[in-house]
Symmetry: C2
Subunit: 343 residues, 2 copies
């Protein structure tokens, strides 16, 4: 028998990356609006603004403020300054990623702009972890945001119009999340990422994105289980990003039909941000849905040992108002990142 | 004296990456519209569509066709199938990156969506090279597109309106470019990438993006020269992405004031796509400006030994119609990639 041990490989499969170094979330932060601040996770958020303007003159500027705050609070927790961060990987839901780009300018950190709709939380985190793992960056920040009012007027109608919505629609989370990623420390470890493919099942209703996104989430989760040899029960918690009340049971059923037992282990961030009494239709959505749950509650559970392994599969609907007006189906994607308890 | 040689480090500085493996563009392809097909580089493009609909029913679908074609032609040149590519890194100018996302769906390749406006060509290429260098992907495709008519109606006015433009405005290139990135082969090598910071100098005129982007290009080029210890004369050619007739002389003067001699070595892709007789105001712009020049002319020059080292600094104006209507300045970014002759 040889005592030679092959170096761990970073490419597990075509879709799954393994982080071979001690890559960790060294600090994370979440900032939200008033409605999220009345939800069940309120005590875990770092900052809650009492109104959706967050002291700014426009909703777009307010969203920027949330993202900037989340990054600054994460930096403060990590005891770092902007110039100690090599890379910012960020995105949001607004056209041309303006929240991320204007925030990047304030921070003066070299920036990779990313867009994965509501999957941007794990898209940026996976990529940050890969670049830190391979030494291209010593420390990186992954961050994203969404804002209910900016998303409403961009994707749907001016909010003043008061358009009615079906129960399948979702409530875009006003919030932002940021994570400082580096080697070492005692934060939660990043162990695997599974990169999604774009899929659609012919769904065309932009007011039912949960159903549209469920197959993308299932595709990425199955790839993750197959590539890593893990089963759902190897995790203490598996969450999708924002499938909410309609999409979540669809994804669960699809996974169970494929032989994966999701009992007790599976939840959806879109069902965790608000309490059932809050009027949010089918549940939460937006880049911030998975970001504010992951970077508050999940990091907290891992940090204090209440959970050992968590998989976050962030889901994104890649439609634009132009694409659905032109009769196209909604292409969706999901990216998953596996976390392990710190220390 | 020790004979120990330290392994080359992938992180040269906060902004500059060094590709320590033999990372190469194994194949590349460019597809353009009719106007670009009458320009000086026409003979080097892989496919020229005789009209801007490219056989499709909408301009958006046409742009998608250009991107799909570019990727398929690059794959064919590399003698590879879609399922031999681990990652697609792609972006475009349309809201929600719909060109890239719908194309990704057709190809069924795991996808990282990126957005850097017209800097997306080098943003995707730099990131692809980093992920291939570190073994997260065996082969990746970096690709981007723009289309004159889709950009006009999204960023400015419906083309039917016939709005007049000032001479400082630019002509968005209808085209797409794709590169297959892998280890080994005899294509041009990727040696360094310098990641940009978002900067603005207070420029607010969306019809003069060359002036707005020049400082971002200068910032990234200076970081590149300082980080690598190279001088402009160490390159046979340095190009910016789409500064065109107004931005190019501004960037050149700024660099020369900083002590960099740009004589003879510096050009701009925005001045290379069209001939002076073609009516394009100050010159070319769009993700495809740098992509179609880099992935045709520059790859060709490197491949046949006519040039040994080239630096492509792709420039992006990160504005949105909302941001400039709200009176914001135009944030800009530039990402640079250094190429070396193959074999």
């Amino acid at each position: 028998m040889s005592t030679m041990v092959a170096a761990p490989k970073s490419r597990v499969s075509r879709q799954t990356w393994q982080f071979t170094e001690d890559v960790r979330v060294q600090a994370s932060a979440t900032v939200v609006g008033p409605k999220e601040g009345k939800g069940p996770l309120a005590s875990l958020f770092d900052k809650i603004y009492p109104d959706i303007y967050a002291g700014q003159k426009s909703w777009e500027k307010a969203e920027r403020k949330l993202l900037e705050d989340a990054i600054q609070i994460a930096l403060k927790k990590a005891n770092l300054k902007e110039d100690q961060i090599d890379l910012l990987l960020a995105g949001d839901l607004l056209n041309q990623n303006i929240t991320a780009n204007f925030t990047a300018e304030l921070l003066s950190i070299p920036t990779l702009g990313m867009y994965g709709a509501c999957s941007t939380s794990m898209l940026t985190l996976a990529n940050a972890a890969a670049l830190v793992n391979s030494g291209f960056a010593e420390r990186a920040i992954a961050a994203c945001s969404s804002h209910n009012a900016t998303a409403e007027r961009q994707y749907r109608y001016p909010t003043e119009y008061g358009g009615q919505k079906p129960p399948s629609s979702q409530w875009t989370v006003t919030g932002a999340g940021a994570a400082v990623v580096g080697i070492g420390g005692n934060g939660p470890r990043l162990t695997y990422a599974t990169i999604g493919k774009v899929v659609d099942m012919g769904m065309k209703d932009p007011l039912d994105m949960g159903s549209a996104m469920a197959p993308a989430a299932v595709s990425t989760m199955i790839a993750h289980f197959q590539d890593t040899g893990r089963q759902p029960q190897d995790y203490d918690l598996i969450v999708t990003g924002d499938l909410a009340g309609i999409g979540y049971p669809i994804a669960k059923e699809m996974l169970e039909k494929e032989g994966f037992n999701m009992d007790k282990v599976y939840n959806d961030c879109g069902l965790m941000v608000y309490s059932p009494e809050q009027e949010v239709f089918a549940g939460a959505s937006g880049c911030a849905s998975s970001a504010v749950v992951t970077y508050s509650y999940i990091m907290n559970q891992l940090q204090r040992g209440a959970m050992k392994r968590v998989l976050v599969c962030a889901t994104g609907a890649l439609l634009s108002p132009i694409s659905y007006q032109q009769g196209e189906a909604i292409p969706c994607i999901a990216h998953a990142v596996a976390f392990e308890g710190g220390a």
